[in-house]
Symmetry: C2
Subunit: 182 residues, 2 copies
């Protein structure tokens, strides 16, 4: 396999493993086994196993965090759709979403990861804000709304995964969107 | 030390360790050392190290999760105060707050813990909702508002800890409270 393909494979397996079993079960041996490579090859690509989650977060966020606001006639409907889509992803790709929160959790203890998470969160807010600006005049207002939406979306998804209260989360999301756009 | 005091000490040390270094660094040896007991004593109190976080969450939530809404003349001000107080706690007792998210993270992978987290979250919503009812007629509406508030508070606190963006979090919280109470 070409070098860069091996690297990508390692990072994708890392996301899969982190989402499947959490950070506690994550190790160089397990990652090498999952990627079908030797530990020597793994450490040829990454100086330390602690470097893997940092790049893995980047791969994860490139796949997902460009949050496009669905094209609809009003902001309320667009935000409701955004939430429903996110909660569907939580249902259907649970491990993938769990990997996000596992990495956010690691970022609380790892400054390098925190830096990555913060910059990809800024990017996500920017994209979402530019969607919101179709409905809102001021750039600053759109930005602030985008940040509120992302915080609620993260809180709601975390509750969905850690508490398993899907019905309440979906109902609460609609209330949030109604209040936000009134 | 009497048996129940030892047990309480173990659980408090568990919260401290989980918040200080995360779940990955958490082990029976470290917990026994932190509590100043032998591993044999630890396993006299807990059948497995995996049982510890479940009871630790209960201790944590008894200490905190009874969210009393500050007594002020209007709901907007009361909610802003609630957020400011929470963010102050994040600042001043970072490890204690991190322990909460570490345990929430574990709950994504542990059904027994998820059950505990869900029931203490229900209790937190109930307390908060009874505070909100001072301002809102319907019980159902107060309940839904309380859930929205807790989700935003969790999302905001997680962002604060994992992204380190205090200023934005505090500003966004005010916007959220304004929109919610308009």
């Amino acid at each position: 396999m070409p070098e860069h393909k091996t690297r990508t494979k390692i990072l994708q397996c890392a996301i899969q493993l982190l989402g499947e079993n959490g950070a506690e079960q994550f190790s160089a041996s397990k990652l090498a086994a999952a990627a079908g490579i030797s530990k020597a090859t793994l450490f040829h690509h990454f100086r330390s196993i602690d470097d893997v989650p940092i790049e893995a977060f980047e791969v994860w966020s490139n796949d997902v965090l460009d949050i496009d606001l669905p094209a609809t006639g009003d902001l309320y409907k667009a935000l409701v759709k955004l939430g429903n889509h996110t909660f569907d992803v939580v249902d259907q790709q649970r491990d993938f979403l769990r990997a996000y929160f596992v990495l956010l959790n690691k970022a609380m203890f790892d400054e390098r990861l925190r830096f990555k998470v913060a910059s990809s969160s800024d990017r996500a807010i920017e994209t979402l804000a530019s969607g919101i600006r179709r409905f809102v005049e001021s750039k600053r207002a759109a930005n602030d709304l985008a940040r509120t939406v992302l915080m609620q979306l993260d809180g709601a998804s975390l509750h969905l995964l850690a508490l398993g209260n899907e019905q309440e989360v979906r109902r609460t999301w609609k209330l949030f969107c109604r209040k936000l756009t009134k």
